[in-house]
Every structure is written in structure tokens, then in C-alpha cells.
């Protein structure tokens, strides 16, 4: 009797958790999809069903959506590329034994424990061209000053700098934990055979780290694409629409201009894009031996 339904008890035990998870993820997603099929202007009492009209309007008649999409790609790819290179260098450095390594590791991690809103406000003050501290330092060493986030030409790069400052430690953390988990024997054997540091990195460390690298890049890329907090606090997508990423545009559409139907449609399209992108990256990683 005890062996009649061996899987029933574990399923029953896990069920409440799965139901709760579905309720807080799938439920709102279904509601958002339903909202996207209606003309939903919040102050209006009527929300007529319009099918996929919102999707067509956004894809075919909203150049600002495509601008936001483009800015999102530039921001995400730019920030993650720099974070990966810097993060790997720092991880390799911290992987060596030296005096004060633990303290230095702690100091490197400070940016990721600061609230993003605080980061945004602080950088906004530092970036102020006339009285901000960054231009003060540049002036004092006779380097040219910048307008940073206050002009369209440098605003996006300035935001990428903030992102790199804030999330390189996160990338470092993932890569460092990967490095620490690598077997020591292949490296020791290579050194005995006369391999230099670059050869060790290229032929042993990097290939063994591929799964960790893929995870780190995918994770950060998804996060960078949907990033909102510091962008909203520093530029709100400006000047003009120079830093208006898709998440900022969706927020404005829904919670500032109150077009909930259109904002929901953009959110669903954003979700589909992220799922497709994730699958493409994983397939590419499989082909290139990253798994």
C-alpha cells in the first residue's frame, strides 16, 4: 500500500509553493495580457476590447518605441561588455593570494549593497557640470570637463558608467566564485610544463569557465535590459529621449500618461523578446561549447 502512489506525497508537499508562485507570476501576466487587448486609459470608466490594435499601433506607428528599444540594446550590451571585461580582470586579481585580499574583496563589493535610488541621486549630484565633484577633479588635473548626463551626446555613456560602477562587483562575484571552484591540478600541470599566465588563461581557465561566463552574461544582460531605478532617478530618459530605455518608456506610458493598455502591450512584447533572446544565447552557447 505504501508504494501505490510514491510521487503523490512530494507533489502535495510542493503544491502550495507552486500555487503561490503561479499566482504571483502567471496571474499578473494573464491580467497584463488581458489589459493589452483593451483600450485602457485609467481615468476613463470605459475600457473597450480592441484585440491586438495596441500591438499594431506600437509596432507600426510609434517610432518612440523603436528608439527606446534601440537605446535599451546600446545600454545593455555596452554596460555588460565593460562589466564582463573589468569583472574578469578583478576576479583574476582577487583569486590570487595576497595580504589584505579579504578586506579588498569587501571594499569591491560595496557598490552592489547600496540602494540603486541612492546611487542614482548621488551620481546625479556628482555629474552636475557646474558644481559637481567629477568636473571639479577633471578641472584640477587640467583635463577637459564633460556635460555628462545633461546633454544628449554624453548622457547614455554617463549612465553606462554608473551601471559599470554599480554592477561590476556583481559580475566579479560570480566569476570569482567560478574561478575558486576550478580544479587546481590542470593549472599546476600547465605551469610545470612551462605555460605562461596568458597561455594558462586562454587554454585552461577560460574554457573551464565557459558555463559560468554564459550564466553571468545572460543574467546581467537580462537585468541591464530591464534596468529602471538609476536611469529614472538620473535622467528620466532625457535629455530628449537620449536615455529613454524601454522600461522607462513603458513606465511613462502606463503610470505617467495612464495608457495602461499600451503599456501592458509593450510589457508583453518585452517579455517575449527576453524569452527569445535568452533562448538564442543558450543555443549559441551550446554551439560554442559554453555548456
Amino acid at each position: 500500500m505504501a508504494s501505490r502512489n510514491p510521487t503523490k506525497v512530494p507533489i502535495l508537499l510542493v503544491l502550495p509553493c507552486v500555487v503561490a508562485l503561479l499566482a504571483i507570476t502567471i496571474g499578473p501576466m494573464i491580467y497584463a495580457f488581458n489589459t493589452s487587448l483593451h483600450r485602457y486609459y485609467l481615468p476613463s470608466p470605459k475600457h473597450p476590447f480592441i484585440g491586438f490594435q495596441n500591438y499594431l499601433d506600437i509596432l507600426l506607428r510609434d517610432p518612440r518605441f523603436w528608439n527606446a528599444f534601440r537605446i535599451m540594446i546600446y545600454y545593455g550590451v555596452g554596460a555588460v561588455a565593460i562589466e564582463f571585461v573589468l569583472g574578469f580582470i578583478i576576479a583574476l586579481f582577487l583569486n590570487e593570494e595576497f595580504r589584505g585580499r579579504r578586506i579588498l574583496s569587501g571594499v569591491f563589493m560595496v557598490p552592489i549593497i547600496i540602494t540603486p535610488i541612492v546611487v542614482g541621486f548621488t551620481w546625479r549630484l556628482m555629474y552636475k557640470p557646474t558644481i559637481g565633484i567629477l568636473n571639479y577633479f577633471l578641472r584640477s588635473v587640467y583635463l577637459p570637463e564633460s556635460k555628462w548626463i545633461f546633454v544628449p551626446s554624453s548622457a547614455l555613456l554617463s549612465l553606462i558608467i554608473i551601471d559599470v560602477w554599480e554592477f561590476t562587483p556583481f559580475m566579479t562575484l560570480i566569476l570569482l566564485s567560478g574561478l575558486m571552484s576550478l580544479p587546481r591540478e590542470p593549472l599546476e600541470a600547465a605551469r610545470i610544463d612551462g605555460a605562461n599566465s596568458w597561455q594558462c588563461f586562454r587554454e585552461i581557465i577560460f574554457p573551464l569557465m565557459k558555463p559560468i561566463i554564459m550564466f553571468a552574461i545572460l543574467f546581467r544582460l537580462i537585468d541591464a535590459f530591464k534596468w529602471f531605478d538609476t536611469i529614472y532617478v538620473t535622467t528620466v530618459g532625457g535629455p530628449g529621449t537620449a536615455t529613454e530605455t524601454l522600461s522607462i518608456y513603458i513606465y511613462k506610458k502606463g503610470l505617467t500618461w495612464l495608457y495602461m493598455g499600451k503599456a501592458a502591450a509593450m510589457s508583453i512584447m518585452f517579455l517575449i523578446f527576453m524569452i527569445v533572446l535568452g533562448n538564442i544565447i543558450i543555443k549559441w552557447a551550446n554551439i560554442k561549447g559554453f555548456r
Binding site: P43, I131, V151, P239, G240, K252, L255
Partner: protein, 442 residues
């Protein structure tokens, strides 16, 4: 003995009536301040973190003692307040009885604020003789009147567009200070003459996307341009008229030639802090910034700022006038108690006491109060009082629900011209087209 008893009763009754009058309010006031005593009424207010609201917050215990109504006012940062009050109104389970409103139309047309006429017409809640509706600055009183119903009352932080200028820099350059006949052409010439990068700019302005509309509206109107074809329920955007293009071209030229490039990303506080830190010679904006500039502990220009009227344009002189408004929510469960609070908070006496601490308020009598006038720079008070009579034809804002879309689309149109991305005609034609699409959904 019988007559003595009668006289004693009459005398005691008179004394009691007088003492009730002293405790209750002004002599002859119809309002019953004690009508909610013992009923444990509570009011929750969504307030904004502003100097005038801090002043009101300090006075609230007096109201509580007078009426027995418990009042809680949340002091919320502006950006957060926009979202919070929206969620409260749309949730179906709103908790606020009073909300701070910068723009009254959206809330009124969505049915989220309560028309106030029934309460104004109840003498136990509003003594209209003492309250004196005519004492409000007309533009601000009308701002609460939506589709013929009064839905909000001005409460504080009232401001009007004026010109802030550095008296010392004008003197240094030998320029005549702005006076009654100061024109926008002279403003441009003086701003360019004073422009001294990197030390300071000729003028500072907030050019970040939604912000140009506030300070540039006097310029737009004084060139004869308008945003829309009519004030209430507009059908067509007309900012792209020839007058509109000329006005926006002027604004762009002024900012390009006499302001720092980084103005493109400036909101109100960046622009004001540049002026406060002596990084600009002029600032055309709302009068409520005066306390910042005159604070000797933080401001580098304290005592050096002159306050003048907005300049004259080809079609006259205009100013935008603005104030914080209080609206009663339609879902409030304490409407009569809330009405009594509104009567008290926006009445002449409390408004005067807020003015003593915070400056700009919505009642003319408070501005003209000698104690208020001597607190603040004389030319600031005079400029503000004068400009309140020059309210623009669309002041403070067009009465449309899609106010935030309006700020973004039209403000974005101005910004594109200022940044040199488009000509005035291209940018304003596109802004008008986009805005007309929005209006069709009104």
C-alpha cells in the same frame, strides 16, 4: 426677587453665549466647529513635501483641539505622491480624504474628487462671508473649477512667473536693471552681454523635457501664441502657428546663446541651484524659489538678487500663476469633517499664517498683509502682486485630462528646437499632430 432671578439667568446665558463665541470662532460665524466632537472623526491627507505644507502641518494641532477631528497629513516627495495618489484613487479602496493636486482636471473628470458646492452652501461648514472666495487670486480660484463644478481649493505654495536677476552683475556691466518697459529683446541682449562661461551663464533655464512649458508660457503668450484653440475641451493644438514658431525660436535662441549647454538636462532644482550658487545672471521662473536665494547660510547670491516683472513681448506681458490645491476625494468616508478642514486650512487666517512662514499663497489679502510684506524683499512682493494681475489666457494649464501627455509632447517639441535637433516648424507641427491624436481620446 423674581425680576432679579430673570436678570441673572439672562446675564449668565449671555456670558455663556459669549464664551462659546470666543472658543468657537469669529463673532457671528455660522460654522459649527464642535459638530464632530465626540464622534472620533479622522482625516488622512496626501500632502507634499513643501515649505507651505510644513507650515500647515505645524498648525494642524490647533484644528484638532478646536474640532475634535484627528488629522494626519503624510508628507510625501512629489514624484512619489503622483503615483501614490493615483494608486489610491484607482484601487477601489482609497484611504485618503484629501489629496494634494497640481493638476485638477484629471482627477475631477475621472470622478476621483468631490464637487464642493454642497459643502460651500452649508453654513455649518462654510461661512462664505468670512471665507471670502473673492479674496483668492482669480486664476487660482478658477483652476479648481472644472466643467462648472468647484473641485479643489488653493492651499499654498502659490507662485507667479517673475524675473530673478543679479543686481551686482547688472551694475558691473553697466546695464540698466529690468523695469516696467523691459522687453524680451532686451532680455536677450542683456543675457548675451552677461554670459561669461565658465564662470556663470547669462541665463539659466530648466529645459529637461516636460519643464520648459512652465517658465516659457509667458513668452509664448506674449508673442500671441496659444497651446490650444480653446481653454476647456480643446479640439485642436495651435502651438504650431506662426506666432508659436516665433516664440519657440526666440526661446531656443535665448538658451543656445546665453545659457550653459547642460540646461538640456535641468529640472527646476538644478536650474535654481545654479542661480543660487552664482552660476547664472538671470533666471526666468516661478517666484517660490525666492527663499532659496535669500538664505544666507546656503545661497551665494543672498542679498544680490533683484526681482522684476516678466518682460514685455510683442503682444503684451503675461505670467503663469500656479498654486497647490487641495481636493476632497469622492471616496472619502469623512466628507463633512473633511469639508470643515478645507474651510479652516484654506481660510484667510490660516493662509495668512502660512504666508508668514512660506511666502507665496493664493489669497490677495495675505500678500498685502503688512506683517507678510515686511518679511520678504520689497521688490519680490511688488513683482508678485503686480504679475498676479497678468495671468495668461491659458493659465495655469489647459483643462485637459491628458495633462502629462501634454507636458511630454509639447515640452518635447520645445526641447527639440532648443537642442537644435529640429526647426521650430518641424518640431511644433509634429508636436501638434501627436497632441491632436491625444485630444481625440479626451
Amino acid at each position: 426677587m423674581g425680576k432679579l432671578k430673570v436678570f441673572m439667568v439672562i446675564g449668565i446665558a449671555t456670558l455663556v453665549a459669549i464664551s462659546f463665541g470666543i472658543c468657537g470662532g469669529a463673532q457671528g460665524e455660522s460654522v459649527d466647529w464642535h459638530q464632530f466632537a465626540g464622534e472620533h472623526e479622522k482625516i488622512l491627507i496626501a500632502g507634499c513635501e513643501r515649505v507651505s505644507f510644513r507650515a500647515l502641518l505645524d498648525l494642524i494641532p490647533e484644528f484638532e483641539q478646536k474640532t475634535g477631528i484627528k488629522v494626519t497629513m503624510e508628507m510625501i516627495a512629489e514624484e512619489e505622491l503622483f503615483t501614490k495618489r493615483l494608486l489610491d484613487a484607482t484601487s477601489g479602496h482609497g484611504v485618503y480624504d484629501v489629496v494634494w493636486l497640481d493638476h485638477t482636471v484629471q482627477f475631477a473628470r475621472a470622478g476621483w474628487t468631490e464637487p464642493l458646492e454642497p459643502y460651500l452652501n452649508d453654513p455649518s461648514l462654510f461661512d462664505l462671508d468670512l471665507y471670502d472666495m473673492e479674496d483668492f487670486v482669480p486664476t487660482l480660484k478658477n483652476w479648481g473649477l472644472i466643467d462648472g463644478k468647484l473641485t479643489a481649493l488653493p492651499v499654498g505654495d502659490a507662485g507667479v512667473d517673475i524675473l530673478f536677476y543679479r543686481k551686482d552683475l547688472f551694475e558691473e556691466k553697466g546695464l540698466a536693471p529690468p523695469g516696467w518697459d523691459y522687453t524680451y529683446d532686451r532680455l536677450y541682449e542683456d543675457a548675451v552681454a552677461l554670459h561669461n562661461p565658465p564662470e556663470y551663464a547669462g541665463i539659466v533655464a530648466r529645459v529637461k523635457r516636460i519643464y520648459p512649458l512652465q517658465w516659457s508660457s509667458p513668452i509664448i503668450w506674449s508673442y500671441g501664441a496659444r497651446w490650444f484653440d480653446c481653454l476647456e475641451h480643446p479640439r485642436r493644438t495651435v502651438i504650431n502657428s506662426v506666432d508659436g514658431q516665433m516664440a519657440v525660436s526666440y526661446i531656443a535662441k535665448l538658451v543656445q546663446d546665453a545659457a550653459f549647454e547642460e540646461c538640456a538636462g535641468y529640472g527646476p532644482f538644478e536650474a535654481a541651484s545654479d542661480f543660487e550658487q552664482a552660476k547664472a545672471a538671470m533666471f526666468l521662473d516661478i517666484s517660490i524659489f525666492m527663499p532659496w536665494f535669500e538664505d544666507p547660510k546656503k545661497s551665494k547670491v543672498s542679498g544680490k538678487v533683484g526681482y522684476a516683472l516678466t518682460p514685455l513681448g510683442p503682444r503684451g506681458r503675461f505670467a503663469n500663476i500656479w498654486a497647490c490645491m487641495f481636493g476632497m476625494t469622492s471616496y472619502s468616508k469623512h466628507k463633512r469633517a473633511t469639508a470643515l478642514f478645507l474651510y479652516w486650512a484654506t481660510g484667510p487666517e490660516i493662509t495668512r499664517r502660512i504666508a508668514l512662514r512660506a511666502g507665496g499663497v493664493a489669497r490677495k489679502s495675505s500678500w498685502r498683509d503688512p506683517d507678510v510684506m515686511k518679511q520678504f524683499p520689497k521688490d519680490w512682493v511688488e513683482s508678485c502682486l503686480t504679475m498676479m494681475d497678468y495671468g495668461g489666457p491659458e493659465a495655469p494649464w489647459p483643462k485637459i485630462s491628458q495633462f502629462d501627455s501634454f507636458l511630454d509632447i509639447i515640452g518635447g517639441g520645445y526641447q527639440a528646437v532648443i537642442l537644435g535637433e529640429k526647426t521650430a516648424k518641424e518640431s511644433l507641427d509634429e508636436a501638434a499632430r501627436l497632441m491632436d491624436e491625444v485630444l481625440q481620446q479626451e
